[in-house]
Amino acid sequence: MRKIMILEDDPAIREELSLLLRNEGYAPLPVTDFATVTEQAAREQPDLILLDIGLPGQDGFALCAALRKAVSAPVIFVTSRDSGLDEVRALSLGGDDYITKPYSVPVLLARIKAVLRRSGAVGSTDTVEAAGLRLSLTKGTLTAAGKTVELTRNELQIMACLMGQAGQIVSRADLLDALWDSQIYIDDNSLSVNMTRLRGKLAELGLPELIKTRRGMGYQL
């Protein structure tokens, strides 16, 4: 499990964030003693640090510099001061990403995933394999039993999302979130249309019933 260190002074946010990250399959490390942050980080060796710039009695930017020396983990700055100067400063001090409060939860999770992927903590592969299918993300093709079809950007994202959670039910809302994270802004109806096309292409591969509709819950591969 990826360890994510949470440096946040607001107890409500800290607890909820820990809960959320645990539910998402990460190991949260909430910090309550801000005087020994670097020592704790050096001991725990987290994979990622979420750093609130406005910690009490601390200069977030100086803290980031100290953390940078202590551990190699990427740092995502979290702040509620959204001035352009702060962002420039944060990124020049070696923050890997910058997110402002109040963040939307899917956006935060997407950013965490992206930073972990960049830092190599999560292996990023060009191909995803599941349920006897091979999806090539760079070529945009789907292969099964020697036959290959080409997918559009939207179909590719939907397929990647379903194959990433093969066997589980993926809700329409989660699918839409995943699409929006990939900057494909479609509405509910367009998702249905894309789903129908995707099923058509699966039928070309001889797998017409591969994506099951679980009424009221979502889709399942």
Binding site: D10, G84, E87, K101, P102, V107, W180, Y185, D187, D188
Partner: protein
């Protein structure tokens, strides 16, 4: 000051003097002064009088012009009395003194007002900063809810956030020079950030977004540009029609890049178009729907001015609204 004004101003003095001259003439004539001597005397006295009044007039005119020029040249007009030349006469010195005292009272009042405005802005900023923590916490708690309740709460939280954001930018727009950081950005970065900020509203309104040509780069301040785009997206979602969609496209235009945000919403009646950027103007749509503040487009216009951004709005009732933002694409004037 014209000669006519000057003469009118001195009318009493002139009449009195002429009357005295007449009376003296009559007296001298009655007491047996020769007419030739009398005429010579009167002419000489008149000449002296005219010469005195003439120099007075010329001197006053030159003095006024000089003061006028000093005032014209001043950026802060209320500092005039600090810049006047030394007084010529006792009367002028006293007058300048009075003006100076009045001016100092004014300077004090202006700097007090400036300080109050700065305090106000800082208070609003720190208040907004504080309120973001509970909103963030509420967002996270919201994740534990399921279904309809979560959807509705998410939506309401997004509304709170949008109002808070407007309050922040309203305070910032009063003294904008402080946090403007002009840098080069690809339009896609600005647009995607704005969509991300308003995804709850856009998603729940069923809005579809199409983008085109956003790889072009512009010079602007990211926070402000994203705020402006966010206001446009909110309007598009709020005043949507059937199958709502927002088409965002960009094209280069000489040394600028024109970004169009076009929706297929309910549109704005033609007679209301000239007023859409007015502060507090909500229009018939806003009144019909409720919840409109009339601040969104007003702030867009105001912030655009600071970013050297040209903003134009066209709309057709029942067909949709198109807002065009023309960004500087080269570092020239900024």
């Amino acid at each position: 000051m014209s000669l006519g004004e000057f003469l009118y101003d001195r009318l009493g003095r002139i009449v009195l003097w002429l009357a005295c001259l007449g009376a003296a003439g009559l007296f001298l004539a009655a007491t047996g002064t020769q007419p030739g001597v009398l005429a010579l005397l009167t002419a000489v006295l008149l000449l002296i009088f005219l010469a005195v009044q003439g120099t007075d007039y010329l001197r006053q005119r030159a003095r006024l012009r000089e003061l006028e020029r000093i005032l014209e040249g001043l950026e802060e007009k209320y500092l005039f009395t600090e810049c006047v030349p030394p007084a010529d006469t006792l009367y002028e010195r006293r007058l300048f003194d009075l003006m100076r005292r009045a001016g100092r009272a004014m300077t004090g009042a202006v700097s007090d007002a400036r300080a109050a405005q700065r305090d106000y802005r800082e208070t609003v900023e720190s208040w907004v900063h504080e309120i973001k923590a509970p909103i963030t916490a509420a967002r996270l708690v919201c994740r534990q809810l399921e279904g309809e309740a979560r959807r509705k709460l998410d939506f309401e939280l997004a509304q709170i956030e949008a109002h808070v954001e407007r309050a922040l930018f309203y305070a910032r727009a009063e003294s904008p020079e402080r946090d403007c950081v002009i840098r080069q950005f690809p339009l896609s970065e600005l647009v995607f950030q704005a969509v991300e900020n308003h995804r709850t509203l856009l998603r729940q309104s069923g809005v579809q977004i199409e983008t085109q040509g956003l790889e072009q780069t512009v010079y602007t301040d990211k926070q402000w540009a994203v705020f402006i785009l966010g206001q446009l997206f909110q309007n598009a979602a709020r005043y949507r029609g059937e199958a709502p969609a927002i088409a965002i496209s960009a094209e280069p235009l000489e040394d600028r890049v024109q970004l169009s945000v076009r929706d297929n919403g309910i549109g704005i009646p033609e007679h209301e178009l000239p007023r859409v950027f007015d502060r507090g103007f909500t229009g018939s749509n806003g009144r019909a729907r409720g919840g409109a503040t009339g601040m969104g487009l007003y702030l867009c216009k105001k912030l655009s001015g600071f970013l050297d951004l040209d903003i134009q709005l066209t709309s057709e009732e029942g067909a949709g609204t198109c807002v065009t933002l023309s960004f500087p694409a080269k570092l020239t004037k900024l």
